[in-house]
């Protein structure tokens, strides 16, 4: 804290009259006055420090305002913004072949030959005439120098199929030619001889067949029982609790596969150096995942593999696992061709071949007292993992841990299973299992309210968890939690209660034919209350032991080194803000180093909304230590705790370097001592902290076209300290738009285990005309225990959890139907009306 010297008060007071006289000039004058005060303070700090190397006050003004703009909680412009708006940012497909000094001008373009069947055995490969095959480089599994698998949790996924095919579009071989057109043509001239085998395309079917007593080789397609992972969360005594309930509510809920649909398709550029080391540049979220995968495929030590992230045009989880596959293919092609190689997918290939959100099925049975008290929850949560494990166990964990919702309940059982099928592997997608299970519980809450004859708001308010209470894993909420305040704010902003009552009345009249010109229109408003665990689940962060390095070069420039990638969410800007604030430097003095495994330590993957909270925390700590080191080094450059100038900092760094050679600080994640998690029993602190939210959606359903439009959306959340309000709101708005797609538009049409609508013309994502006005509000709750820089928690995934259930709850009001499956396209709504008609006789 800074104490204002007594002597300054009169000067400020003297300014007052001139402010009121010149109202128009007031903001500027205020700024100016503050700048002068800052200048005085800086001068004092310097004088006390005995250093005289500083210049005029004008400069201080500019620097002071730059410092203010970059403080935590400010919204400075995106650091790489100007390059992006000029079209100068280089994405992988924009890189020339000699990028990063490869020296080669001509590269070879690769294409991937993929399986046409969901399951089978590859017997032979033939090459039909029509292209100059002698010029085409063909890479098969036999060309892999190391392990034929993509290293991740379980090394079950081959890099290129050598025998058994486990899903449609599985990569079989890579073809390369300097002329992309010839490479494309060659792809159509490969003849595959495959013995087809019966595939398993349904998750419940797979679970059943995997465990039946007489299971044969066509029943068990993975491991011993087709189960990638299963666990059970148990709290209280579920079996006994049913005796004390008045009302039982039961329902089944389903969510579909969803494509991440980043607008930049996946791609990689690779070269193999004369010493056999491998370098890959590309569109990716997690450099060290790709690094580990290539070490295995090439059987190389860590220092012989280099992975560099190029500007990345969106990820959303979709560039978490699959880039390892493409990187391996591209590097294998470069090795065999003896020159740089490039593989960039087109939209169709990206859609049909890469991972999607796990489809889910959830059965929920709850027991209630007449007054609305939630007594017991019994939840069965299943995910379709697809053909290989990829990250399914972790997705299942997050889904299961969010399945009971933000409600206080003494007796809970969550049984979770991820099944193997012959679908293309499902993978990471923003939310990571939670959007699936939150959809189920939030729809279920509305159904329970209807059955209990209570309002969905009153029911939530009665059961929402508070600090001091426990979640399903027994985790005691030690942070301050005020879900009711969030809910009240969302209700007030949306005018919920009045609209809910009005729409009930209007819909009733319309159904009786009294709707006039709006007889074919129904409206509804719906709510969802939910939470999202920030950072890795359970012991994830502990195992990961992320590192960040901050160092200074001879010019005094500060380099922040982390493997966290900028994928649009603002990593560059936020790391700059954190470093600028702690080091008291202008943003220009800080360089956020491009993620390159030869330049940055492993700070873990860019996933799980962990970048600001966890890695940002490490950046903050490293900057703090760097500053302390300079201060303690003495040597006459006194960097007092506050009030030094960039030039002084530079001089201090130079003096330090002259004496010590280097100035570099590496920090490593230290698990908070009070966070305890038991991986086996699924008990304890599943997440160090949670973001909390209440969302409201308003919809209109057209009974002629069966189209649903979202008219309005309110998103109220508590995410700890908001480091950058514009970026944070952008994350919520973008996530809500993806949630609108998840709920109403984005449907994968599966045909024999293959996506049949892999184009933007038939897989529809929301356009600017489809997205409702989105009102975002952050509520800051005093929270001394918060962990991220300045108390920031995760934010990126949160909006995917609550958007779809809020929308479906609104559609349920509008239509009066039980709608427990998403996506809900017009044809699905039509079918639901038809079913309801049959049920009602």
């Amino acid at each position: 804290m800074r104490i204002r010297p007594q002597g300054k008060q009169p000067r400020q007071a003297e300014k007052q009259p001139s402010h009121s006289r010149l109202a128009g000039a007031r903001p500027q004058e205020t700024d100016c006055a503050n700048a002068q005060l800052d200048a005085v303070a800086a001068t004092q700090a310097l004088t006390q420090g005995g250093d005289s190397a500083y210049d005029s006050g004008v400069k201080i003004d500019a620097e002071a305002s730059a410092l203010r703009a970059y403080a935590i909680g400010g919204s400075p412009p995106r650091r790489e913004g100007p390059e992006k708006v000029r079209g100068q940012a280089l994405y992988v497909d924009d890189l020339p072949a000699d990028f990063y000094g490869t020296g080669e001008v001509e590269l070879v373009h690769g294409v991937t030959v993929r399986s046409p069947v969901a399951r089978g055995r590859l017997r032979a490969i033939g090459f039909l005439p029509g292209v100059p095959w002698d010029e085409i480089v063909v890479v098969t599994a036999a060309d892999i120098p190391g392990q034929n698998h993509i290293a991740l949790l379980e090394n079950d996924q081959p890099c290129l199929v050598s025998g058994l095919i486990n899903h449609a579009e599985e990569p079989l071989l890579i073809l390369g030619h300097p002329d992309r057109v010839i490479a494309e043509r060659a792809r159509t001239l490969v003849r595959l001889e495959i013995d087809p085998l019966p595939p398993q395309l349904d998750l419940d079917d797979s679970l059943r067949r995997g465990t039946k007593p007489d299971a044969g080789p066509n029943d068990v397609i993975w491991g011993k029982d087709n189960v990638f992972k299963t666990f059970t969360i148990e709290k209280g005594d579920v079996a006994a609790a049913w005796a004390g309930v008045d009302v039982i509510v039961e329902g089944d809920y389903e969510t579909g596969a969803q494509e991440q649909l980043y607008i930049e398709p996946q791609g990689m550029l690779a070269r193999v150096r004369p010493d056999g080391s491998v370098e890959v540049f590309g569109s990716l979220q997690c450099p060290y995942y790709v690094h580990a995968a290539l070490m295995a495929v090439f059987n190389l030590p860590a220092d012989k593999v280099r992975i560099v992230q190029t500007e990345t045009g969106g990820g959303f989880g979709g560039k978490e696992e699959y880039p390892s596959m493409i990187a391996a293919h591209t590097a294998l092609l470069a090795r065999k061709a003896g020159r740089p190689a490039k593989i960039v997918y087109d939209r169709l290939e990206d859609m049909v071949a890469t991972t999607k959100r796990h489809p889910s099925r959830t059965h929920i049975k709850t027991g209630w007292r007449h007054d609305g008290t939630l007594v017991v929850q019994d939840i069965d949560f299943r995910l379709d993992g697809g053909a290989y494990m990829t990250l399914s166990p972790v997705v299942l964990s997050r889904g299961g841990l969010h399945a009971a919702g933000p409600y206080a309940c003494d007796h809970v059982r969550v049984r979770a299973r991820a099944a193997a099928t012959n679908m293309p592997p499902h993978g990471a997608f923003r939310g990571f299992g939670a959007p699936q299970s939150v959809f189920a519980i939030e729809r279920h809450m509305d159904e329970a309210a209807a059955k209990l004859g209570m309002s969905e708001i009153a029911l939530r308010k009665k059961n929402l968890v508070r600090d001091g209470q426990t979640l399903s894993t027994g985790q005691v909420l030690r942070e301050r939690v005020d879900m009711r305040a969030l809910l009240d704010r969302a209700l007030a902003l949306s005018g919920y209660e009045a609209k809910r009552a009005r729409y009930d009345e209007e819909n009733r009249r319309a159904a009786q034919g009294q709707g006039g010109m709006h007889a074919q229109r129904r409206r509804g408003i719906g709510v969802a209350t939910f939470m999202h665990g920030a950072g890795f689940t359970g012991s994830g962060e502990r195992y990961l032991a992320s590192k960040v390095t901050v160092d200074c070069d001879a010019t005094g420039q500060v380099h922040v080194r982390a493997s966290s990638t900028e994928i649009g969410q603002g990593t560059n800007t936020i790391f700059t803000q954190i470093a600028a604030e702690i080091l008291g430097l202008p943003p220009d003095a800080i360089t956020v180093v491009r993620p390159d495994t030869s330049q940055v330590p492993n700070s873990g993957p860019t996933v799980a909304s962990r970048t600001v909270m966890v890695v940002g925390g490490l950046v903050a700590r490293a900057c703090q230590q760097l500053k302390t080191r300079l201060v303690e080094a003495g040597q006459g450059m006194r960097l007092a705790a506050a009030g030094y100038r960039p030039q002084q900092f530079r001089a201090a760094v130079q003096a330090y370097l002259a004496q010590h050679g280097t100035l570099s600080v590496t920090t490593e994640y230290e698990p908070p001592p009070d966070v305890q998690w038991d991986d086996k029993a699924y008990r304890g602190d599943a997440y160090a902290t949670y973001a909390w939210a209440a969302y409201v959606a308003e919809v209109e359903v057209d009974l002629v076209t069966y189209e649903t439009r979202v008219l309005d959306f309110v998103a109220v959340q508590e995410v700890g300290k908001v480091v950058h309000p514009i970026l944070a709101a952008g994350q919520i708005e973008g996530g809500v738009a993806q949630g609108v797609g998840f709920a109403l538009y984005e449907k994968v049409a599966w045909r024999e285990g293959r996506m049949a609508n892999g184009q933007m013309t038939n897989y529809i994502m929301p356009t600017s005309a489809d997205v409702p006005p989105i009102r975002v509000e952050f509520i800051e709750v005093e929270n001394p225990r918060l962990r991220g820089p300045g108390g920031a928690k995760g934010i990126g995934e949160l909006p995917l959890d609550g958007t779809a259930p809020a929308i479906l709850n609104a559609v349920a009001q509008a239509t009066g139907l039980r709608l427990n499956q998403i996506p809900l396209l017009p044809e699905d709504l039509l079918a639901a009306y038809a079913r309801a008609g049959l049920e009602n006789g």
């Binding site: 412009p77 790489e80 913004g81 100007p82 390059e83 992006k84 708006v85 000029r86 079209g87 100068q88 994405y91 924009d94 294409v111 046409p116 039909l128 005439p129 029509g130 100059p132 579009e169 057109v181 010839i182 494309e184 043509r185 792809r187 159509t188 001239l189 490969v190 003849r191 495959i194 607008i263 930049e264 398709p265 500007e311 045009g313 969106g314 990820g315 959303f316 087109d346 939209r347 169709l348 290939e349 649009g568 603002g570 514009i726 709101a729 952008g730 708005e733 973008g734 996530g735 809500v736 738009a737 993806q738 184009q759 933007m760 994502m765 356009t767 600017s768 005309a769 006005p773 989105i774």
Partner: protein
């Protein structure tokens, strides 16, 4: 775009092992500069710009006219360059994102507004989005939010939920046509 061989098992045989690639001399004016390049007549304008002219600011998101990442102005009209064959671009005037800023040190008001208002996140849709916004503001200098929604509906953005893009366009209208400093920020 060329359809590629996902259906490799349906491959057909052709007798010829080579391709004949008849070429044309394409003359057009790109970002105010008269340009000549030798290309296949059916080459996509997108590829001509990116590969022959090394203007990689124009992006490919879908290759079938759906996403707008490849949008450029052709004789002042917004087009998807992935759908325009080279032959059709003969003698035209093309503006790409590289031609939008008035100088290396300055940004156009729409570009500046996208930086200031958070209209660009990952940035891959941004070049096309900015050209769409410019086309809109030429047609309709003071658009309402509904007109902005309509005017940008051919350009997909997966990151922003469009909200900050709308505010960027509104901000650009308020910027009263003057270009602003700050390109090197």
């Amino acid at each position: 775009m060329s359809t590629h061989g996902h259906d490799s098992h349906h491959a057909t045989t052709t007798s010829s092992g080579t391709f004949t690639r008849p070429l044309i001399e394409l003359r057009l004016r790109v970002n105010g500069i008269d340009t000549v390049c030798v290309v296949h007549p059916m080459a996509r304008l997108l590829d001509v710009l990116r590969e022959s002219l090394h203007l990689s600011g124009t992006k490919e998101g879908c290759g079938e006219g759906e996403c707008g990442a490849c949008a450029v102005l052709l004789n002042g009209e917004l087009v998807c360059s992935c759908l325009v064959p080279a032959l059709q671009a003969m003698g035209t005037e093309v503006t790409t994102i590289e031609g939008v800023a008035p100088s290396l040190a300055t940004l156009d008001r729409v570009q500046q507004a996208f930086v200031d208002c958070g209209g660009a996140q990952c940035g891959i849709c941004t070049p096309g989005m900015i050209l769409a916004a410019k086309a809109l503001l030429t047609r309709c200098p003071q658009p309402t939010e509904a007109e902005i929604r309509e005017g940008l509906a051919g350009n997909l953005c997966r990151c922003t939920g469009y909200t900050k893009i709308f505010s960027s366009v509104l901000r650009a209208c308020q910027a009263d046509g003057a270009t602003t400093e700050g390109g090197e920020r």
